[in-house]
């Protein structure tokens, strides 16, 4: 530190300086350093967190080399080394150096029981990196590590030895096309039939509730019966087609050898990707890394969210935040306009302003429980009774859903928008308004054409801050509509296209659920880091935009001095 106002020591006054100020100066400098240290520690915290999440989150997608281990007790393992640490064996003498152990991802969950194992370094007899070690990503049972031996279709041998690997890659590519065809049928026609059957069931119930005259009832029943028969036929036909596609997928099988020499057969239809990591160059790995990041963002989750992508969670978050913005912007702007432009400034408005500011500090969980009581049970329950009696006791709107979540968050973030918009309105110079009024514009025209456009950056800042807060908020949503796994997106091609009553997935809840409520927390931690990274990037990016906008707004009017 260098203090410009400290008088140079040579310029001492005639009288000797008092003792105290000199001592103060010496102390002062050290204390200033300590303050600087506090700031440095804060910055360190920010950097460390971002670095930690980025490193772990991005590292999740990196394909590590496969290492084979031979242990002292004769066990053989093949896996990726994930961590190395000191550990404390039960009978370890306290004073001695602690031994090292390494964490190996051995995969092959159905054979080994757990994805990860810890092995003590002193037990390792031999370690190697065999070039032909295989890494499969599978649709079930997680990853597979082993060696490829043969490829069969039914009883017929397709390839073996060195020829097996290119043949396998070919088969995997064709299996992927088949899987897509299968998915098209399942999601398309089959989904439609199931949807129609579900609607039919509700129609029957509605008929019962309506209790029309006998002939009317007979007519409608006959209609429903005919439709059901047709749907059932369609359903049977589609099921057959799906069964055929499935059988085809199952027909090609790869014979592989595990690290301990056991032979297993894997259906190629269940393999998503096949790699020989030890043969890959750094550039190959980098390509693979980029592909995995992309896949993570656009794929469906597998194995109860512990593998695969996070697309539905990302989609749910974005859609919910979008719905929230649609609700919060008009509300917030209207309230801010009232407070700043139309109300008489006095003690009452001051109180209201304090209340609105306070609301921004009310814990989000309070909004959550309010949303549950008011939106879900109050309004939703009433809607169900009035409009969806045929579905009762299964609740349609009387349970958590994306609409209620969006409205709850809109309430939570409305103070942010009000405050930011008010700031934006206040920053518009009085002269600009007066100019507009003097030219004969009405008050509304002045606000609409002159003030609001000028205040737009302020409003935008508010909206972005609201969105950033909403996308990171989890606690209130746990109550009003988030679920671990939503089978369908809230938007599809069935009328009315956007299903406001549907539960949805959310990045934040996905993180909480996978990180804390999955059976093997240790194994899913890397994926949670990756999810955290996505969430963080989303939120931080929006905040950076908001801060930049705010600064621009400040500098735009700071110089005008009007």
């Amino acid at each position: 530190m260098n203090s410009p106002i400290a008088p140079p020591p040579t310029a001492a006054p005639v009288r000797a300086p008092a003792d105290a100020p000199a001592r103060r100066r010496g102390n002062g400098r050290a204390l200033i350093w300590l303050c600087g240290g506090a700031l440095a520690f804060n910055l360190l915290l920010v950097l460390a967190q971002l670095a930690l999440i980025a490193w772990n989150g991005l590292g999740y997608f990196w394909q590590r080399d496969l290492v084979s281990f031979e242990l002292g007790d004769g066990r053989r393992l093949l896996g990726e080394v994930h961590a190395r640490e000191h550990f404390r064996p039960a009978d370890h003498p306290a004073a001695e150096e602690l031994p090292w152990r390494i964490q190996v991802k051995v995969a092959n969950r159905e054979h080994t029981g757990a994805d990860f194992v810890w092995i003590e370094e002193r037990e390792i007899v031999r370690r190697a990196e065999p070039a032909d070690a295989l890494h499969f990503e599978r649709s079930e049972w997680g990853n597979f590590h082993g060696f490829l031996r043969e490829l069969h279709r039914g009883e017929q041998l397709l390839a073996s030895g060195d020829a097996a690997w290119p043949a396998l890659l070919e088969q995997i590519a064709s299996a992927e096309r088949q899987r897509e065809a299968l998915l098209d049928v399942e999601k398309g026609p089959l989904g439609d039939v199931q949807y129609a059957l579900d609607a039919l069931r509700l129609d029957r119930r509605r008929l019962e509730l309506d209790a029309p005259a006998a002939d009317e009832r007979a007519r409608r029943t006959a209609e429903l019966d005919a439709r059901e028969k047709q749907l059932d036929q369609e359903f049977a036909g589609l099921s057959e087609r799906i069964a055929g596609l499935r059988a085809e997928l199952e027909s090609v099988r790869a014979t592989c050898e595990l690290a301990d020499g056991t032979r297993v057969e894997l259906p190629v239809g269940g393999l998503l990707t096949a790699l020989r990591p030890n043969e890959m160059s750094t550039f190959d790995k980098l390509l693979c890394w980029g592909g995995r990041i992309f896949g993570f963002l656009v794929d469906q989750p597998r194995e109860a969210n512990t593998e695969g992508g996070i697309f539905p969670a990302l989609f749910g978050t974005v859609l919910m935040v979008f719905l929230m913005s649609v609700a919060v912007v008009p509300l917030g702007v209207l309230a801010a306009l009232y407070l700043r432009e139309y109300s008489r400034q006095g003690p009452l408005v001051r109180c209201v302003r304090i209340a609105v500011n306070n609301l921004a500090g009310v814990p989000s969980i309070v909004f959550g429980i309010f949303g549950l009581g008011f939106f879900v049970y109050g309004i939703g329950g009433t809607i169900d009774e009035l409009f969806f009696p045929e579905a009762l006791p299964r609740a349609t709107f009387g349970t958590g859903g994306i609409l209620w979540a969006a409205l709850t968050l809109a309430l939570l973030t409305v103070p942010v928008v009000i405050v930011a918009t008010e700031e934006g309105l206040a920053a518009v110079p009085r002269a600009v308004r007066e100019g507009s009024l003097a030219l004969g514009a009405t008050k509304f025209e002045t606000i609409w054409r002159v003030v609001l456009p000028a205040a737009a950056p302020g409003m935008l800042t508010g909206v972005i801050l609201a969105i950033a807060r909403a996308s990171g908020e989890v606690a209130p949503l746990m109550i009003v509509g988030m679920v671990k796994l939503a089978p369908a997106l809230p938007i599809d091609h069935h009328f009315p296209f956007v299903h406001f009553d549907q539960k949805f997935m959310h990045l934040g809840f996905h993180l909480f659920d996978v990180g804390f409520q999955s059976p093997d927390v240790e194994a899913t931690k890397p994926l949670v880091f990756a999810t955290a990274l996505v969430l963080l990037v989303l939120v931080v990016a929006m905040n950076v935009v908001a801060i930049t906008l705010r600064n621009r707004l400040k500098s735009r009017y700071a110089g005008s001095a009007l």
């Binding site: 530190m1 309230a335 407070l339 139309y342 001051r350 606690a475």
Partner: protein
């Protein structure tokens, strides 16, 4: 401002010198639009603000029913045939009333018209065909049915089934009396003077005292042959010592504890599990005991006395002593003698009828009187609470009365939420929170004090960490840093505010917690070393050539300190292991447990405080930085001009001026910490303990709401209790934020004057 427009436009449009033109069509249209817009904005704005304030009212409305007492309204009387009913009961649908008369006959009446639907004796006729006189009788607990004892030494009971047939026009209930179960207590035919019974599955039992003072426990076990379906009953008899003739006798469902009362005011307790202890333990309670009843769960014993005292007794075991009956709850003394006490089958409600045809409904856990009032019939000899707790039943000679009883939340009350409560099985009154257990028999423990304590504890630890760091950093940024650096540093710290708390919670719970446990000593070591390292680095920096130093802006040192602190942290962590070996036997956690007796949870308050501190720092920092920066420059210049150095100026001039703003920053940080949910859910272990140890977990109000509300059914007491917790959070943060806001507004005015 509202009339700006009219004032401005009016003179221009209708100046006197010019001829008055009728406003053009377009102007009319524009004015109409303007009025419409004003109307929409004002109405919309007011509505939004009102609805925002409505949140508070909604929460209040959800909580309010908790504090309401019971409502009792007449529900119609039914004529009955029993001359003097000993017991009364009704079915769940409240279609029928059954009574046991003192002639030993069970009669079932249809409610409303009073038609006699069934009439059967409780005792099989004796050899001579006469019905023996009944000496005492009552209702079974938990199942509709009656039990009675005779003057010739027999005890019998009979259950009543109410078969429900769900027809389209409504359910039809048909009462049906089960076969009689009879036990002969005394083959010699001495009269039974007091009896108590219990039934649980295939085993049932009776305790009876005979006229000669002897007391017997008779148990009957029915075994069913799996192949033939044939039932065989075996009975076992056991004699118990009894010092005096008993007036009241109660036994629990498992027949583990027997309670008796005497006319001279003694309360006796036999522990039946202990075969050696045939002798009762005796407590003298003063006035003669006139009514006695166990509540659901078979722990609390309600005692009513001649002098009107109404108390609840429990078996309490003080530390290191044998357990004994202790008075745990005392209700306000009644005017007349307590004649009848009858328990609810669902919770710890009971109905007590006293002399003078008055009654009271109380709840034992909270010692709360939910209702008291006059009875609509005189001389009630039997009373009951209907199976669904929706009515009180009273029977007097020739007439039975049903009083509709509405009390949705008897277990609530301010005392329960905030006061110490003496729960069953505890040695003294305590604050306890326990998650719902699902069974009615478990006493609900819903004190909010442990949760409030957890909330404040978590807040305290996080503020201890966050406040100094944030305030000092804010002071440095605003006072000692060049604006070109400040421009980047401020947003960087504010980015911290945008970190979603779920990410912080995840990092704290899964990444930080195990590392803190492994390197615990590193933390205090770092706290010690960091200031030294910073000062040393500062000195070193001063030693650099001045020409080199002057190339940096003020405050660049802080950026250099980041590296210094990172290195110090690494060093502290590396040193923690050798220190542990040298001083703490190689394992700090084990050492702490054995030497200090402190438990160490992995998810403890240190981890929680760090994580929540990180969440709170940016908020405090931002507001404090504003407060420092808003101190008028003239004050600083004045101080510097008078010869004070910068540190002196900052501590003696800037700090006092900005202090209200700092207070407001801390209050807002407090508000944020109090309401923080996900971090607490993920990093605190969620154990509702009340303990100041920093190595324990805790459970906060907010985390409790988040984890429990999915289990709470809409409208139940538990559901509303969680709303009360939310209201409490709301109030806490509202108070903190309002204080901060008022201080801030005051400050703004002060600066305006300076």
């Amino acid at each position: 401002m509202a009339n700006d427009l009219d004032e401005r436009i009016a003179p221009a449009a209708s100046g006197p010198p010019r001829p008055v033109l009728p406003p053009s069509k377009r102007l009319v249209q524009r004015r109409r639009n303007d009025r419409l817009a004003r109307w929409v904005v004002v109405a919309g704005g007011l509505a939004i603000i009102a609805s925002v304030l409505g949140i508070f009212l909604f929460l209040l409305a959800q909580v309010f029913p908790l504090l309401r007492g019971a409502r009792v309204t007449p529900g119609g009387s039914t004529p009955i045939a029993s001359a003097r009913p000993l017991a009364v009961l009704s079915d769940e649908a409240a279609t029928h009333l059954a009574t046991l008369g003192d002639d030993g006959v069970v009669r079932v009446h249809r409610r409303g018209d009073g038609a006699l639907v069934a009439e059967q004796p409780l005792f099989p006729p004796t050899a001579d065909g006469r019905a023996p006189p009944v000496t005492c009788g009552g209702s079974l607990f938990g199942d509709p049915g009656f039990v009675a004892a005779t003057a010739d030494g027999r005890v019998a009971w009979r259950a009543i089934r109410f078969d429900v047939d769900h027809r389209p026009e409504g359910p039809v209930v048909t009462p049906r009396l089960e076969p009689i179960v009879e036990l002969v207590v005394d083959p010699q035919g001495h009269a039974v003077t007091a009896c108590a019974s219990s039934a649980r599955g295939s085993s049932s039992g009776v305790v009876a005292q005979l006229a000669d003072g002897s007391l017997f426990l008779i148990e009957r076990v029915v075994e069913e042959n799996l192949f033939t379906g044939e039932q065989t009953a075996a009975t076992a008899e056991r004699a118990l010592a009894c010092p005096a003739p008993l007036t009241r006798l109660v036994v629990d469902a498992r027949r583990e504890n027997l309670f008796g009362a005497t006319t001279d005011g003694r309360l006796l307790w036999w522990n039946l599990l202990d075969p050696a202890a045939a002798e009762p333990r005796v407590r003298s309670v003063g006035a003669p005991i006139t009514a006695l009843s166990l509540l659901i769960g078979d722990q609390s014993l309600v005692v009513g006395q001649q002098d009107g005292s109404l108390t609840v007794w429990n078996r309490v075991q003080p530390e290191g002593e044998a357990s004994r009956l202790t008075e745990t709850h005392a209700f306000p003394r009644r005017a007349g003698a307590v004649q009848l006490i009858t328990p609810s089958w669902r919770n710890r409600l009971f109905l007590a009828v006293e002399a003078g045809d008055r009654a009271l409904v109380g709840f034992s856990t909270s010692t709360r009187v939910l209702w008291e009032g006059d009875l609509p019939l005189a001389g009630a000899s039997a009373a009951a609470i209907a199976p669904k707790n929706d009515a009180l039943l009273l029977a007097a000679p020739g007439r039975a009365e049903r009083l509709a009883f509405d009390c949705p939340h008897p277990e609530a009350g301010l005392d329960v939420y905030f006061g110490k409560v003496w729960y069953e099985g505890y040695a003294k009154p305590e604050w306890i929170y326990q998650s719902s257990s699902g069974s009615d028999e478990a006493e609900p423990k819903i004190s909010l004090v442990p949760l409030l304590f957890g909330t404040l504890k978590a807040t305290l630890f996080s503020l201890l960490f966050a406040v100094p760091l944030a305030l000092f950093a804010a002071m440095y940024t605003s006072q000692f840093m060049h604006w070109s650096l400040r421009r980047f540093v401020k947003p960087a710290v504010e980015i911290m505010a945008s970190l979603p708390s779920v990410v912080l919670g995840f990092l704290a719970g899964l990444w930080l917690a195990p590392r803190v446990a492994d390197f615990f000593l590193g933390l205090p070591l770092f706290v010690l070393l960091a200031p030294l390292a910073v000062v040393a680095a500062g000195r070193l920096g001063m030693a650099l050539p001045a020409r080199f130093r002057h190339r940096f802006h003020d405050g660049a040192a802080a950026l250099g300190f980041i590296g210094v602190l990172a290195a110090t942290l690494a060093a502290a962590l590396l040193l923690s292991r050798p220190l542990e070996v040298a001083w703490f036997g190689g394992d700090f956690v084990a050492w702490m447990r054995s030497a200090l007796g402190l438990a160490f949870d992995q998810r403890n308050c240190v981890v929680l405080g760090l994580a929540m501190g990180v969440a709170v720092i940016p908020i405090i920092f931002a507001i404090a930085e504003d407060a420092f920066s808003n101190v008028p420059k003239s004050l600083v210049s004045g101080s510097l001009a008078l010869g004070a150095d910068r540190w002196y100026t900052v501590t003696r001039v800037v700090l006092p001026t900005a202090s209200p703003g700092l207070f407001s920053a801390v209050m807002i940080g407090f508000g944020r910490a109090v309401g923080e949910t996900m971090i607490v859910v993920m990093a605190s272990g969620n154990t509702p303990v009340m303990d100041w140890s920093p190595f324990n977990g805790l459970r906060s109000l907010s985390a409790n709401i988040a984890t429990e509300i999915p289990e709470a059914a809409h409208g139940t007491t538990f559901y509303r209790t969680l709303f009360l917790a939310a209201l409490l959070l709301f109030a806490l943060t509202f108070a903190a934020n309002t204080a901060a806001e008022l201080v801030r507004q005051h400050l703004r005015q002060k600066y305006a004057r300076l």
